[in-house]
Symmetry: C2
Subunit: 368 residues, 2 copies
């Protein structure tokens, strides 16, 4: 298929980044944009994210070959219902970008039943510290999972066509069932947000009686509560559109807490050790940790002094290397001192880095 008209509703970080990604591989496509705020529309136009903008969602819908709803979950469902009453192009391809999938998919199947509409759910799994059209980034989804959940309205060609349109995002497309998506994300994302918020509330209340709670919290606690600072509105919608799975995880977790509490009460030295050691083993086996996984890399650990320009010195030695990340003070302890962790994309760079640093500095390099 040649020229297409893509309509992106919602020109925030996600919608804007999707539009930029589409343009990268399809500069000939026309991209129309909707956003409620005038400022975002202006930024999107000025940055060339879209070709035309509107503040009236219905306005551009009839012109679109593909409609991408990149708005909050509730708004997504409202727009699906609105689209069902508009006169759209035959076989228009509609998708979304919501963090939960089952309720959106159900809304689409109900609204578009017996219409010449193709619909597939989408969850692009990336985000940013920043938000809004000004933060939109053509590389936001690079190597990120972009999950597609088929529906009764997904024909044989739907996913192939959408992936071709989105090829410029350089994402990792995965097709799974909407309900399964919601179950998996309840475990690795939605319920952990509940834990982080609850731990934060608990510590806040405890600090009222035990003041040093506010001061002694170190790396472990900081890491565990980081996502408690996420945007409350988004997470409220996520919990409410994934109720069953989240509630089930909560109940399951309470049982696990009872299990460890029983072991503590029984002074079951060996049982507690097994509990901790099993958790450790499982984590080490997850993709989160495995080489080749999206979040793991080839790491070196450099024992550096707390001095100015040490990192600069090391990076100069590593010039031209595929360095993925670096940080001080993070893994697996309360507060590490002076361990610079550098992550590489492959074993060759990792080995080369160790050699170069050890040959040219007095710092000791270890590989985990």
């Amino acid at each position: 298929m040649g020229h297409k008209v893509i309509y992106v509703a919602g020109l925030g970080l996600i919608g804007g980044s999707i539009a930029l990604g589409i343009k990268r591989d399809h500069p000939d496509y026309t991209i129309l944009g909707y956003n409620r705020s005038e400022k975002s529309r202006q930024i999107a136009l000025e940055r060339g994210i879209v070709d035309e903008v509107t503040d009236d969602f219905a306005h551009f819908a009839p012109r679109a070959d593909v409609i991408i709803l990149a708005v909050p979950i509730k708004q997504t469902i409202a727009f699906i219902e609105e689209l069902a009453h508009l006169s759209l192009k035959e076989n228009v391809l509609i998708t979304d970008a919501g963090s939960t999938k089952l309720e959106i998919v159900k809304a689409a199947e109900a609204s578009f039943a017996n219409q010449a509409v193709r619909f597939v759910g989408s969850h692009p799994m990336a985000g940013s510290h920043k938000s809004g059209a000004s933060a939109a980034d053509v590389n936001l989804f690079e190597n990120a999972y972009y999950i597609l959940t088929p529906t009764a309205l997904t024909t044989d060609d739907t996913i192939e066509e959408l992936r071709a349109d989105l090829s410029g995002l350089h994402a990792r497309f995965i097709t799974i069932d909407a309900a399964e998506h919601d179950r998996v994300t309840s475990q690795i994302s939605h319920f952990p947000h509940v834990i982080a918020a609850s731990l934060m509330e608990q510590a806040g209340d405890y600090a009222k009686e035990h003041e040093m709670t506010n001061h002694f919290a170190a790396g472990g606690f900081r890491d565990m509560t980081r996502i408690a600072e996420s945007e409350a509105g988004m997470w409220t919608s996520i919990l409410l559109t994934n109720k069953e799975a989240v509630l089930e995880r909560i109940e399951d977790f309470k049982e696990r807490l009872d299990t460890i509490a029983d072991k503590i009460k029984a002074q079951d030295d060996d049982g507690i050790w097994q509990y901790f050691n099993h958790a450790k083993t499982i984590r080490q086996e997850m993709e989160i940790h495995k080489r080749g996984g999206v979040d793991s890399f080839y790491d070196i650990f450099v024992n550096v002094p707390d001095e100015e320009d040490v990192i600069l010195t090391i990076l100069e030695l590593l010039r031209g290397t595929s360095l993925v990340n670096l940080r001080i003070n993070e893994e697996n302890r309360d507060d590490i001192h002076g361990i610079l962790q550098i992550s590489f994309k492959n074993a060759k760079d990792q080995a080369r880095a160790q050699k170069v640093i050890e040959a040219n500095t007095p710092y000791k390099v270890t590989i985990q």
Copy 2:
């Protein structure tokens, strides 16, 4: 007081680093070391961490003015009981380095009752990715909290004298009640370890039925489970020596999970929003986050492309600046792309960095 004999039992990361810290300000002190493993004793001698070593704990005890027990909690209690039967110097100052304090303090008070022994509990709050005498580092405790818990055996001069001996550690000494120490650390460290391990076990079990659990886990989940990889033996001892406080935190947390579950069941949109938003507010007010806190700094966020040598370019611009840390991809999202976060020690360097980077690169810099 002039020359002293310090006896450090346990020449691992903690004991070795304490010995090095003492030597920094007191090169004239004699430091004796005990360790079970011959290899650690050799390393400690070779690195000049100690002046003499033994594998017989009782052997050096009578010579010591100060005895520092830097061994696991159970061993600490066993050594306290052993010391009570040895002929020690009059008014010997004994302390430890355990992560829980009440049981150790009680053991000391019981064992040394009516003896000419001074005892104060210690918890140096630092650690490392690495362990053993080879990892000992004179700077390990720099700016770390070093908690002192007085006992019935702590005389007026005890804490002052110990702080003077440990001045070279450059730690932040704080004196609090042992029971209060254990309560505070149950909240910000011990119970979070239980959560991390439980969440990891839960996800591991869930992955057996829902395979993508192993793959979709991203930044938030990774951060929340990082400490699940801690050493099982140490955490077993911690839970067993801080039972009451940890069990109380577990029960309290289950009630909080019930609270949020009830809100989800009731579809209480506003209630869930308040829950998340309150957690967010509390975290933003904690020392963990505040400027001037031990774990927080003056940060800038640089929107960088995923290209080689970008970080090097930026660090060259920042040469000579008091850079504290830097990382990519961390705050407050599922997966950030291309945000380089750099932390500085003061506002002046932070402002200067923003100016220099914006003047010399095309990258946008934001300050949170």
